[in-house]
C-alpha cells in the first residue's frame, strides 16, 4: 500500500477536482476545480517516473547513481505551461462574462441552451 500511495493521492486530487467542477456553480470555482484535476494528473505523471533511491536527473554532476525518469518531468512541465495558458484564458473569459452578464454563476450563464 505504501508504494502506490502517490497514485492514490493523485486519484483523490483528480476526484476532488471533478467533484468541484460538477457541483460548484461559481465559474471561478469551476476553473479552480479544473486546475485541481490538472495538478492531480501532474502528480500522477511525476509519480510514474519515480525510482526508489533515484536522484534528480541533472546529468552534469551526476555520479553514476540511479536517476528518476526525466521524460515524465518534461511532460509535467509542458502540462504546466499549457495549464497556465488555459487558466489565464478561462479567467479572462470569466471576467468578461461577469462584466457583460453581471454574474459569474454557471446557473445564470445559460443564454445558449435548447
Amino acid at each position: 500500500m505504501f508504494y502506490n500511495l502517490p497514485f492514490i493521492v493523485a486519484g483523490l486530487i483528480i476526484m476532488v477536482g471533478i467533484v468541484t467542477m460538477v457541483f460548484k456553480r461559481n465559474l471561478v470555482k469551476m476553473i479552480m476545480g479544473l486546475s485541481l484535476v490538472e495538478a492531480g494528473v501532474n502528480l500522477l505523471l511525476v509519480a510514474i517516473g519515480y525510482r526508489a533511491g533515484g536522484i534528480a536527473p541533472i546529468f552534469t554532476n551526476a555520479p553514476d547513481a540511479q536517476m528518476v525518469m526525466p521524460t515524465v518531468q518534461a511532460m509535467t512541465l509542458t502540462n504546466i505551461v499549457i495549464g497556465i495558458a488555459t487558466t489565464a484564458m478561462l479567467l479572462s473569459f470569466v471576467m468578461i462574462i461577469y462584466r457583460k452578464y453581471g454574474t459569474a454563476d454557471a446557473g445564470k450563464m445559460r443564454k445558449l441552451r435548447g
Binding site: I18, M21, V22, R25, A106, G107, R113, G114
Partner: protein, 111 residues
C-alpha cells in the same frame, strides 16, 4: 466510372444524363404554356377572390411554425430531450464524466 458500394454500384454520370433529359422534357412542356400570359399585367397579381393583397411581411410563412406538426407529434420526445440541453456548464461536465464512467464499466465488465 461507377462507385462500387459492396452490393451495388452508383454511377453519377448516368444520373446526370437522365436528369438532363428530364429537364429537357419538362422545359418542352413548360414552353407550350399559356401564350397570353405577359409579365407586368394584371395577370401577375395573386387572385384572392377580390380581397386586397396583405402586406409583404405577413404573407411569408416564417420558420418558427414550419414543422409544428412534427414537433407536436413528437412532443413526448421533445419535452424530455430539449430540457437536457440546459446550457449549464456543470451539466455538460456531468454528462461527460457520466459517459466516461458508463463506458468504463461496459468495457471493464465485457471487454
Amino acid at each position: 466510372m461507377s462507385l462500387q458500394t459492396g452490393t451495388g454500384f452508383w454511377d453519377p454520370l448516368l444520373w446526370v444524363v437522365a436528369f438532363a433529359i428530364a429537364l429537357l422534357i419538362s422545359y418542352l412542356i413548360w414552353a407550350r404554356g399559356e401564350s397570353t400570359y405577359h409579365k407586368d399585367t394584371e395577370a401577375v397579381k395573386p387572385y384572392l377572390s377580390g380581397n386586397a393583397e396583405p402586406e409583404k411581411g405577413e404573407v411569408h410563412i416564417r420558420a418558427g411554425n414550419m414543422y409544428w406538426g412534427f414537433t407536436e407529434a413528437l412532443k413526448g420526445y421533445y419535452s424530455r430531450v430539449v430540457p437536457l440541453h440546459s446550457g449549464i456548464l456543470n451539466d455538460y461536465v456531468l454528462w461527460f464524466i457520466a459517459t466516461a464512467a458508463l463506458v468504463l464499466v461496459i468495457v471493464g465488465v465485457i471487454g
